[in-house]
């Protein structure tokens, strides 16, 4: 079987399922690099306590830029590890395809009619053939890469602006651009992570369908749970807030006294990231539910099958 449409989203069928994931180790190394960079900025930030005036403003500007860059690297590390999860999910599905026919033997007669059923993991649909991806899955598959790349670019440009702000302190215009750009980047990186989680949900759905089809049994697919719907809404809302805060910072960049605007833009930008993070938590909960459902389905197939 060929999977040309998603060839860049899954390993080859005959890929080595025993091999350790290089994405896992790369992700861990990148996360440690991000933590080291943040620790350097931490020391600089503490040094600012003993400074006054322009010196303090300068130190606070570059430490902001460097810290946010450290966060961005760790978030990229998370994305790299999530990519490793996607690849390993497919290899596990291939193992299921190899093992299940022998473990199930002749599948038992399915007493459930086609249509919707309630399970302890939520509502599910029984179909003869595996259902296709949902619109959000198609979007997630396309969007995670551009979001991560654009997010990293925005954070890096913001880092350069932070050095400009540090070299010309006090420079409120540069400070405004730095904060707006870096938090737009952070929002995009978190959205990229959200899209990767959406891609994991797609991989679980598609692989689950393929495994059941390969056995010749009806396909049980969990319906999109409320946690997944809320995940999409929170991610979109959070991304919009991240874009709005950037516009807000750009709008006040020319102001001679932006203190009042900075006072609400700071919490506003963090509110945006908080919304995306809340969505990410729900996506992880949805993944947990789907996994529980799939284990239940596999165990039932083995129990009800007739092995020779």
């Amino acid at each position: 079987m060929t999977y040309a449409a998603d060839a860049n989203l899954r390993p080859a069928v005959d890929a080595d399922y025993t091999a350790a994931s290089k994405w896992r180790s790369r992700g861990i190394n990148l996360a440690m690099a991000g933590l080291t960079i943040t620790a350097v900025a931490f020391v600089g930030n503490l040094a600012a306590v003993g400074q006054t005036g322009a010196d303090r403003a300068s130190t606070l500007a570059w430490t902001f830029g460097v810290t946010t860059t450290g966060f961005a690297l760790i978030k990229t590390a998370i994305a790299v590890v999530l990519w490793g999860i996607i690849l390993k999910l497919w290899l596990r599905a291939e193992s299921l395809k190899v093992a299940l026919p022998k473990l199930v033997g002749t599948p038992g007669t399915d007493p459930q009619p086609l249509g919707d059923i309630d399970t302890s993991f939520g509502k599910a649909t029984i179909t003869e053939k595996a259902p296709g991806p949902l619109p959000i899955h198609k979007m997630a598959k396309k969007m995670f890469r551009p979001m991560i790349v654009m997010g990293l670019m925005a954070v890096m440009v913001g880092l350069v602006v932070s050095f400009v702000a540090a070299g010309s302190a006090p420079n409120t215009a540069a400070l405004a651009w730095m904060q707006g750009l870096q938090f737009l980047g952070e929002g995009m990186l978190l959205s990229g992570i959200s899209f990767l989680l959406g891609t994991i949900l797609w991989a679980l759905r598609t692989a689950g369908g393929e495994v059941q089809e390969s056995l010749g049994v009806n396909t049980y697919t969990p319906k999109m749970p409320n946690t997944a719907k809320a995940f999409v809404a929170l991610m979109m809302l959070g991304l919009m807030v991240s874009i709005a805060q950037f516009i807000g910072y750009v709008a006040v960049a020319g102001s001679s006294d932006p203190a009042a605007a900075f006072a609400w833009l700071g919490p506003f930008r963090e509110f945006g990231l908080g919304l995306i993070l809340a969505g990410i938590a729900l996506a992880l909960v949805s993944i947990g539910n789907v996994l529980g459902f799939q284990f239940w389905r596999v165990a039932n197939l083995i129990k009800n099958g007739e092995r020779s």
């Binding site: 399922y17 896992r24 999860i85």
Partner: protein, 207 residues
């Protein structure tokens, strides 16, 4: 110990049992606690935003510096209670996923009437738990100190300048706490990759 060239489940650190081991303690905690943490975060974020707007209005209307400094510390304290809670919710959700793998993997092996092989908690999972605890404590302590400083500057027992210095120190501590939390989450996800590899190998051994 697991090696990069593991070819069978024996190459992993495992527990062998007759029955599936079910969830371990952190995973049970994850199942119970992700939702309360999530709700706490989703309440804290809008409250902090509203406080930020109030502070912005206070600056615009030229209110006392002590009021503005107090509001600044309270806003940040509430916001980072929110971040601490949402990172906890994410961490608990990851623990919950690991729990599904552990419980489900055991049930599938049980249904084949074979020995149940369960991956022992890998070092990455231990770092995940430790990092999460450190990150959470750092953010919570920083938030509490923000409230203490807010009370002090509001009552006049410390100056606005001292409150500003405290804000810079606490900002540094908070940022480090966030970084530690994010690294812990990376390790939690890295544990999932290892579990998937173990299960891909173990499944083919069941035949």
């Amino acid at each position: 110990m697991t090696t990069n060239t593991a070819t069978s489940s024996n190459d992993f650190a495992i527990d062998v049992s007759k029955k599936g081991l079910g969830y371990n303690k952190p995973q049970k905690m994850g199942k119970k606690l992700w939702a309360p943490m999530w709700i706490m975060a989703i309440m804290a974020f809008p409250i902090a935003l509203a406080l930020g707007v109030v502070r912005s209005n206070a600056i615009s209307s030229g209110e006392a510096e002590t009021t503005i400094a107090t509001l600044g510390h309270v806003t940040t304290g509430v916001m980072f209670i929110g971040f601490s809670a949402i990172f906890a919710a994410i961490s608990f959700a990851i623990a919950r996923i690991l729990g599904e793998f552990r419980k489900g993997g055991g049930e599938v092996q049980e249904s084949v009437s074979t020995d149940v092989r369960t991956l022992k908690m890998p070092p990455t999972a231990k770092i995940f738990i430790l990092g999460m605890a450190m990150g959470m404590m750092t953010l919570l302590v920083a938030s509490i100190v923000h409230f203490v400083v807010a009370a002090q500057v509001s009552s006049g027992s410390i100056s606005v300048a001292t409150a500003e210095t405290a804000a810079i120190t606490l900002e540094a501590v908070r940022r480090l706490g966030v970084a530690v939390y994010l690294v812990a989450i990376t390790f939690g996800l890295a544990t999932i990759v290892k579990v998937l590899r173990f299960q891909a190998i173990r499944l083919r051994e069941l035949v």
